[in-house]
């Protein structure tokens, strides 16, 4: 009898997503959901989605989900955590959501050492609103609000979120991964699993940053977008573990 060698994860609902060709949201969604399925935790998880391109994440991810207002997901997740001490709770947030409008909620959830996991999608631009500058937009990078390229003089330097949050004792597991190659995608999945393990053990706040692409708003083809990620993003946003329960990298 034939045995299946591959099955689509039950964690993703059988619907079409609204994501553009070459966008990596689909990969990060699926990695998180695969890990939850493997942990047999889909029915014991509550997700908190963002505002942005992934505002519809609750239509794709097969867990109980809350659609949060711009940047508020970590505060909302903190409230949910108090009611359900034994569920897995995660937030899924983009760079504008987490590092701009929701900085206070994110930083303080981490500082409190909330037993939640934040998945941070860094594609260095606002997607849904049409390509405006994000806190993580690179110097020289063009956006609809930095049309000749971001300058330090006008907008300051991009924020490195993993490095920033790693200064807080409540953030016990912080890793930056990239969705640019099969090898790195496998590494990203391991990081997701590790973050949920940290949460299950109630060790503190955990965060995985996914260095991601946005071909549409970068004005690049999907393949060119991978090149941009490799050549421009990774030198500024180095991959690695910034904080772990064992200490350091």
């Amino acid at each position: 009898m034939l045995q299946p060698v591959f099955e689509y994860t039950k964690g993703m609902l059988p619907v079409e997503t609204n994501y553009c060709p070459g966008c990596t949201h689909g990969i990060s969604h699926r990695l998180i959901m695969e890990v939850l399925e493997e942990m047999d935790m889909l029915g014991n998880t509550i997700g908190c989605g963002p505002i942005g391109c992934s505002v519809m994440a609750h239509r794709f991810m097969n867990v109980d989900m809350m659609e949060c207002a711009h940047g508020r997901a970590p505060a909302i997740a903190s409230g949910i955590r108090r009611v359900h001490p034994d569920k897995l709770i995660f937030t899924y947030q983009g760079d504008g959501d987490l590092a701009s409008i929701g900085t206070a909620e994110f930083i303080h959830a981490a500082a409190r050492g909330e037993h939640i996991t934040t998945f941070f999608i860094n594609n260095a631009i606002y997607g849904m609103t049409g390509g405006q500058m994000a806190p993580t937009t690179l110097i020289g990078q063009k956006s609809t609000t930095t049309q000749t390229g971001r300058t330090v003089a006008q907008a300051g330097a991009p924020m490195r979120v993993c490095e920033l949050v790693s200064t807080l004792d409540g953030a016990v597991y912080v890793e930056r991964v990239a969705l640019n190659s099969p090898a790195n995608i496998n590494k990203a999945k391991k990081a997701v699993k590790r973050a949920f393990d940290v949460q299950e053990k109630k060790l503190g706040f955990s965060m995985i940053e996914f260095v991601s692409t946005c071909p549409t708003n970068w004005g690049l083809s999907p393949l060119e977008a991978i090149d941009f990620l490799n050549e421009k993003m990774l030198p500024y946003y180095p991959l690695g573990v910034f904080r772990s329960p064992e200490g350091g990298q």
Partner: protein
Amino acid sequence: MSGKVLMKGNEAFSEAAIRGGCRYYFGYPITPQNEIPEYMSRELPKHDGHFIQAESEIGAIMMAYGAGAAGGRVFITSSSPGIALFQEGISLMCSAQVPTVILTVSRCGPGIGGIQPGQADYFQATRGGGNGDYRVPVFAPSSVQEGVDMVYQAMELSDKLRNPVMIFTDGLLGQMMEPVVMPDFVPVPKSDEIRKGKPWALTGYGKDDSKRNTVTSLRIVPDVLEKYVHGLFEKYEQAEKELCRVETFDIEDADMVIVAFGTVARITKEAISMLKEQGIKVGLIRPISLWPFPYDVFNKISPKTKVVISAELSMGQMIQDVELGIAKRFPVRLINRTGGTIPTSLEIAERAKKIYEEIGG
């Protein structure tokens, strides 16, 4: 019920919330309501409840949104500028139909204003500063006991309506001490029992993903959103019929009627006694629910009444609702203080008498 105890308003409201089933409180310090987060931080853990001192009022109301969506009973408090920061969350909770009980210990504005009692947040409470079409039932006590009973009942009401409910107090009621009788503790479901009472709540669906729940606010298709908002307003229409509360006396046989709520109603009652001694018959309308506003009660005012006065700690906000209720049948005048000074009963009586004489009474 407890025996009679002497309690400060803010602490009494906190205790009433716990007895009404609140196990989740999220707050941020702001005068004159600081006794509430202090009380909750101390007392909630004794009842297996949870307190978080949030990073801001925005953080606090979002924690309330999360805990409410997860099926918990939530109490959240602030004062005027802090309630301004709550507005985003209030609009969201109305949209997503998530319950919570909000208490404001109102102070003066605009802006940072002052920390003395005020009622200039009447529009903020009854019209809201959040975006979109929504309504929040608002109740205004004029004694600590009435506030206790309102907070306690609002816990159940908010769950039933699946909508925020607001209690509108001011710095005077929050800070004053009065004897109160506390209601009994209501039973609180454990986290794994929540879905029985709240099948919509986010709890994790367990083994059966056909029971998956989502709590959402975005409805991007115009027809879908329009239908949804109409659905919300069917709920609000029903609430308008059921929740209207008002205290009146002597309005069927009055030379003059004064409309006042909360602290000012209390002072007005004494002013009315003074005026009676001077031979002026004065009736009182005390709206207890500010939304829904008791417009119909204005139909009971005697035709011989010369003037209707709105007495408020603002530049005149409730007076707009009074004028809607009066519908041009009587002259309407304002007696007000703002900036934090509370009028004495004598001041209200004298100003009311002056208005009455000017109108030709």
